[in-house]
Amino acid sequence: MKDLLTKGIAMKDKVFVTTDVGGTFTDLVYLSEDPKTGRQQLKTAKVDTTPPNFEQGVLNVMEKANVDVNQIDVMAHGTTVVINALTERKGAKTALITTQGFRDVLEIGRGNRPDFFNLNYQKPIAYVPRHLRFEVNERINYQGEVTQALGLLPLANIIKELEDNQVEAVAICLLNAYKNPQHEIALSNAITALTDKFDVICSHQISREWREYERTSTTVLSAYVQPIASRYLSRLHHGLLEKDFIGQLYVMQSNCGVDTLKSAQQIPITMVESGPASGIWGAAELGKIINEPNLIALDIGGTTAKCALINNGEVKITSDYYIERSNVSAGYPIMVPVVDLVEIGNGGGSIAWVDDFNKLHVGPQSAGASPGPVAYGRGGKAATTTDANLALGRINPEFFCGGELKADMASVQTSLEEIAKPLGISSQDVARGIVRIANNNMVNALKLVSVNRGHDPRDFTMVAFGGGGAMHAAALAAELGIKKLIIPATAAVFSAWGMMMSDIRRDRLLTYLSAWDDQTLPFINEQMALLYQELESEFISENLTSDKTTFQFFGRFRYENQEHSIEVSLPRVLDESSIEAVRASFQQLYLQEYTYNLDNEIELVGLHLVGKADVGKVKLPKQQQSGRLIAETIKGEREVDYAEDGVHTSVIYDGDLLEPMMAFSGPAIIEQTGTTIVIHPNQTVFLDEYSNVIVELLKNKGGEHA
C-alpha cells in the first residue's frame, strides 16, 4: 500500500505552497518540482489582506497565482490573526482560575511604571476583569510537592458563574505549576467533566517556566485568542478541503518552525510573531544555501522594522516576549518560544512630526495602509518615510507601488514644507532629515541585536527584505561597517518564502534550577530523558518517525545567584566530561556578551529542548540566464539624493529583468515589483545564481569597535 502511494505521488510534480497573511498584503510563494527531471518552477503573488475573513485573502492569492489546490502536497501558512485579536481586543470573553490568594496577580503585574515621570500613568488593563477571576484552595511548593490538596468544592459555583457570564474561554494558572502540573490537570479535567461550554487552557500546556505573573498573562492571552484562532484555522482548512486539498497543512509559529494544524489549534498563541519569524528564518536558510552563516536580518514593513542576529546559522529563540510594551507602557508578557528580535516603530508609513521644541521625529505613529503615505493621495496629510524617499528620487513617482499607483508629488511637497517651516530648513533637507533620523533609529535597533550582545557587525552580512528593507539597507550597512548586503530575489514576499524553508519545530522550555556538578548530573540526565521521551513520543504519535526528526538540547546557565542566563548547547546525555566542557563554553559565551568572567560556580536554571521534523522541503532552484545584456535592463537615469552621501545622477535598472551574473556599480536604483533597491556610490552590485542582489561595500570604513 505504502509503495503504491509513493509511486502514485511520484507521477506528479511535488508542490509546495506557502501563504503569509500580513497586515496589508497576503503573499504567496509556489514551488514545484518534477521528481523525475528535477525541473522546478517558482512563482510568487500578492493580494490585499481581507479582514476580518482572512482566509478569503488566502484563497484569493491562490487563485491569482493559478494554484491548483488539489495538486498541493504541502502547504504552510502564516497569519496575523492572533496578534490582531490581541491588539484589537477582539478575542473571547475569558475567565481565570488561580491558587487561593493569587487572582489579582494578573492585575498587579510587576508594578512597574516605565513612563516614570508621567504621574498620570495608567497601567495596561487586565484581559480578565476581577469578577471573572476565581480562586481554588490548593498548594504545591516550589519543589513541586503538594502541601495542600486541591479543593474542588467551590467548582460547581465557579462553573455556574462562568456560564452565567457567557465566558468562552477559561485560563488556569496555579502557583508553582511549572514544577508540578498535577493540580492544573485535575482541575481542568474536573471542569471539562462538568461542562463543554468553553475552552479550558492550563498554564503548563504552554509554559513550564517560573514567574507567576508572566505565566498567568501567557495563559490568559492564549485562552483569549483560542476560540477565534481555532475557528479561523478550521475555516481555512475547510476552504481548502472544498477545493479538494489533499495535502498536509502546516501553520507557521513564532519559533521559526511550522507545526501541524492540530497542534496549532491547541495552543494558537504560539503563532503570535509568525510573520517576523518566518522572514528571519528565511534569512537563516538563505544563508545556508549561499554559505553565509553570520547574518543580520532586517525586515522593514509599513509600520515597524524588525531585526535579528543569526550567528553561525543559528537563530536565537527566547521566551522573553511582550506585546504592546514600549517606553511608555509595561505591555503584556507572553512566555512562549519566540525568535529573539528587536522591533521598532519605524517603517515606510511612519509619520514625521515636529515637537514643541522644533525637533524632528519619525514614528512610531504610522499612516498604515489607510490613509497611507501622502503620496497615495488617499487623504494622508502627514509626511512619511515613504514620502521622503519619493522626494529624494529614491522611489520613482512613476513606478510607485510597482506602477499600480501614481504618486501625488504635489501633496508630498506640501507635507514636507509644512515640516520645513518650524525647522527653518528647506523641504529637501526635511526629506533628507526624515530618512537620516529613520536610519538612525534603525541603526540603534541593529546595534541592540549585534554590538550590544558582543557581536561586531563587521563580521556579519546583512539580509534586508520587506517592502522597505532594500531602500534603507545600503545606508545602514555602511553605517555599521558591514561589507556585504544581500537583497533576496524574493524580498517582497520573504516571509512566505522563509516558511517554505521551515521544518516542524517544537521548543520545550523548562525551569529547572540545579547545581552543576557530579552529584546533580544523574538528576539532570533523568529530567532531560523525560523531556526527550515526551517530545519524541509526541512526534511518533503524529507519524513523525525518528528518520525524520532531530533533537537538540540547550541548558540555560548563569553564575550562581545571578538572574539572567546564557544558553549553552548540551549533548543528549551528559557525562562527567560535560561539567567542564559546558562551563568552558559558558565562560566563553559570557565573556563575549558581557566582557568579563567570574570564578563563581555556574548553575543550571533551565532546560531547552528543540525537536525538529522534516516536512520534505524542496531545494531552491537556480535561475536561468537568457543571455540578456545588462544594457537591456536599464530604464534610464535620474537625480537621486543619498542624504549623507550627496546627490548623484543614477542609473535605474529594471529589477524584474536582471539575471544571474550581471554586475554594475552604484550610484544606482533597482526598481522591481514590490520593492526598490537603493545602491549608494562606492557600492557594487552582483546577482548570484539565484538572482539574489549582492551589494558589496568594499570601501566601507564605517562601523565601530565592538
Partner: protein
Amino acid sequence: MLNNDPITLEIIQNSLRSISDEMFYTIAKTAMSPIIYEVLDMATAITDPKGELASAGAGIPAFVGALDKSVKAIIAKFEPEQINDGDIFITNDPYYGGVTHLNDVVLIKPVFMEQEIIAWAVNIAHWNDVSGKSPGSMSVDATEIYQEGIRIPAVKLFVNDEPILSVFDMLTANSRMPDFLKGDLWAQISALRLGSKRILSLMNKYGKSTYIQAVDSYLELGQAMAEKAVKALPDGKYEINEAQDDGSHLFVSIEVAGTSLIIDLTQAPEQSALPINLSRDGTMLACQMALMGLIGDRQLANGGCFRVLDVKTRVGSIYDVREPGPCGIYFETMIRLNDLIWRCLAEKITDSLPSGNFSSICATIMGGKHPDTGQHYSIIEPEIGGWGAGDGFDGANAMFCAMHGDTFNCPAEIAETRYGVTVGQVALNDEDAGAGEFRGGKGVVIDYVIRSDNSFLTCAYTRNKIAPWGLNNGEDGSVNRVEVIRTNGAVEEYAMASEVSLDTDDIVRVITANGAGFGDPKKRKTASLIEDIRNGYVSLEYAKEHYGFSVMRGGSHE
C-alpha cells in the same frame, strides 16, 4: 552637507540616549542582586566634561539626576592631572558625591579624546550589603554613618584600565555577601566600558566639536522644556505644612517667578540622630523629581531641565545633613519631601497632577536561613501600592511609588525558591478608602510565611498614620503597615522597625495603602460604581456611606 545641521545634532542626541540605555541593560543583565536586576535600583548616565547631565538611563526616576553630582564630586576632589585615561573612580559616600546612602555605589569613568576629557560615563547601583551594623547595611537605628557600612570616599578603582586589587579586596572583605558584591561591581564596570567605547565612536563619526555642540544644544533643549512647564504655572509664593506620622510637621515654600521655580526648605527640622537624613544632593533629587513630574517627559530629562530650579536648604537640617549624620533610610525623607512639593503644586498651583498615593518605599528587609539549603538569605524589597486618582481617571492599582519607575517586584515563585519563605497571598488591598468621583487605586496585601527560626524583619514605612491626601473633595486613602502574625494568633503592627525576630510559621503581612480620590464621590457615575462593587474594589456598605449608592440611585446624583 554641514556637519552641525539640526538633524545631525538630533541624531547625536538620540544616540546619547541609546548609549545610556545600553549601559543600563548591560547592568540589568549581568548584575548578581535581585534589587538591581529586578527592582532596577540603578541608573546610568553620560555627562559633559563639567559633569552636566547629558543623558540618563534609569530604572528609577530618583536616580535620573543623581550621577552628575558624583561626577562633580570627582572633579572637585581631584586635580586635572590626577584624572587620566583608563581611570575608574568609585564612591558611595553621600559626603563624597555618593548622593544617597552607602548601599548605592557609583562608578565613574572619564572618557578621553586627544588627552582631553570629553565626557563622563557613570552608573549607580544598590549593593546588597556593604557591611555596617545590620545585614543589608540599612538599619533604622544607626546614629552615625560609621554604623552603616564601609565608606568609599571617591577613590580610584582602576588605573590604566587595570583594577587596583587592594581596593577590590577591601570592598569584598567589607560585605556579608562578597560574591554578590563582585558580580554587581563587574556588571557596573562592564557597562562603563561599553558606554565609553560608544561615546568615542560617536565622536569619531561626527567630530569632537559637533559632538560638543550637540550636547550643549541638548542641555538648552532640556532647559527650554523646563522653562515652558514652569512658565505655565501662575507666579506667586505658595506654602504648605503637613503633619507627619511621628507628630512633627514638614514645611515647604514654593515660589514661581517666571521661568524659575524656587523651593525654600530652610524651615526644616534639625538633622536627625536617626538615619533619615538627606545630603543636599539627595534633597536636589527630590526637587528635580517634582519638577520632572510637571514636565512629564522621561526621554528629555537632562541637566538643562534642572537649571530652572533654585533650592534653598539649611546646613545641619534633615535636608542638608552634616557629617557624620546617618543616611541609610534617606529615601523616606526624600519621598516625603517629593510628595509634599507635589501636594503643594496639586492643591495650590496646577490641575495637572493626581491626588496623593501610598508614597513610601515601604522598604521591607527579611533575612534568615533558607530552610532547605541552610544558606543565609536576605530579601530587600520596596513594595507597590495604590496611586491617587486624577481628573478623569481612577488611581492605578499596585504600582511602585514616585521614586521608583521601571522597577519590577519579585515573583512569588522566585521568592519561594530563593528565600525558602512561603508566599501566602499577593492580592489587592480590599480595605475601603479613597472615595471620589474618580477613586484611589488599590494597594496590596502580601503574606510571607517564615519557614525557619531566628529570622528577622526590618522595615521602614511612612504614610503609616497620615493617609494619602485627596483632591477636590476626593477622600483620603488608607495607610501603609506591616503586621507580624504569630503562631498563637497575636498580631503586632510595625512601620519603622529594626530586626524584629521571626520564627517558623510566623506570617509577615505587608499591607500598602490605597490611594486618595479625586472629586466628590457623590458625582461618581453609577455604572462605574456598579462595576466597582461587582469587582470588589468598593464594598456595598462603603458605596452606600461614601458614594450615596442605593438601589434607586441613578438619577439623583448624575
